[in-house]
Symmetry: C3
């Protein structure tokens, strides 16, 4: 039962956020007719790819090696998709909310961990963006699509703004928990508004346009 | 002649397994009209990509940096494909056997090294799967195809089962060499049977199916 | 103003080389209708992907985490493409020269840093090639194309030859700055000649050809 010791509210949020990220990968994999194992791998890469890239870059042991909880969350996401696949479309709004919450949390974790390792604010903000968006990027590379994050409603910009908010409140020595809640809320709100009002960054005009 | 000191049976097996993995990449690259250098890179990535990913994740120096033998094995694989390209198809069964032996060995090396670094069994099993399958995954991403491992005869499951067998025998303190031989044999056998009888994992049914 | 302390000639060259690499990524991204953020990411990956891969493999802290100058160079590259997009085609020759100079410099930095970390010459040469070519490889994977480096005018071979030249002069204890200039010149010259005379490595003939 060691797994269930010291579980706090933030762990439950993280578990649900991981599930939501994994599920987005698994549903895309199932649309491409992957087998169960392939879908599991895509789900896992979506959920842990960003944090793993961050940890390799800042010289930390990859977070998911320290507890099996992320593999378990991915496995549960796989079961949910396998069992409820016909009902999932109706739950799209629920998944979207959890996906946003996961994003907010991933950004907070990424920025906070990088600052704790002693890196400068601009590195921390960059790592927040990497934590939030590289998983989806790797997912899209593995299913052989152009990464959605490069063209989607200001997904990455939400991570940048969240990172800036966190580092400012951190410099002002705001209570860490207050900072986490404010930063995550900012990321979640921007993401929800961006999708609702279809905010996009302008496309970069090239020489042939 | 330092290279040829202390060569043991397992080194010869590893050399041939590396050649077999490299050759699978080089043959696919030649089908895509890559030049010699591109084919060499694809062969190398196929052969060392899995072990390199494992080493980065567990914090080890990448294994192929410590001896040039893996680059040499890839170079020999390139020469064989370049010289014997018309005869290669007839040897498909031979290559397949060596590919299976390579897979068995890669899984053993991946699990054993991770346990030696002090990680828990589930991490070791995960690293065994990564060692055996990430090279082929990177190969397919670089030639712009959806990774075969996500849809092929239970390739990755053979790695999982091999990893479980090794960690159980390891916990029972079975002699390491006996453990290596048993685990590799299990992986090789499952892989051969899977291809012979076309065993597949079920495709994950998505919302549109 | 800390950023602008101790700026030497080599820093200016490195800045312009980074801009040139980033610009090659950004222009390809704009052709694929990426938004500003996506184009920035592609530019950054092109410019720092090779050096980051090298640093992870040799166990160094990624170079671009230590100073924001590489992110700034990428940002300037983005501004240039955004503002001057209609005039850029006329400047293709200028960009090409800077791209070659960047390549020469990246190879020198990659080989020298790896030797300084105490690795053997063949590892240093390999890391020189990785520093010069992996950024472009990652760029092409992210925009969902087969990496150009596998089929282009002896791009990677120029890196290999540069690496060999550097390690020989290094072993002969030639003055480091002389060595840097000679090696970079060799890489730049080979690359320019290869494009001018359309030198290609032969395509590897496969079993179906």
């Amino acid at each position: 039962m060691e797994l269930f010791e010291n579980i706090r509210f933030v762990n439950i949020i993280e578990f649900l956020g991981t599930c939501a990220f994994a599920m987005s990968g698994i549903r895309l994999a199932s649309a491409k007719k992957f087998d169960f194992f392939g879908a599991f791998v895509i789900g896992l890469v979506t959920a842990i790819g960003g944090g793993t890239t961050r940890d390799l870059l800042i010289g930390a042991t990859p977070f998911w090696i320290q507890t099996p909880v992320y593999l378990i969350a991915t496995f549960i996401a796989l079961l949910i998709v396998a069992v409820f696949h016909k009902q999932l479309v109706k739950l799209n709004n629920t998944f979207f909310i959890w996906d946003c919450i996961g994003l907010g949390l991933f950004v907070v974790v990424g920025v906070e961990k990088t600052l704790a390792f002693g890196f400068q604010p601009w590195v921390a903000i960059t790592m927040g963006v990497i934590t939030g968006s590289v998983g989806g990027m790797l997912r899209d590379v593995l299913i052989n699509e152009i990464p959605l994050v490069f063209r989607k409603e200001i997904y990455a910009l939400a991570c940048v703004i969240g990172g800036v908010v966190f580092t400012i409140l951190y410099a002002l020595q705001v209570n860490p928990i207050v900072n986490q809640v404010i930063t995550a809320s900012v990321v979640i709100l921007i993401r929800i508004l961006a999708v609702k009002f279809q905010w996009h960054l302008p496309v970069l005009k090239g020489e042939n346009q």
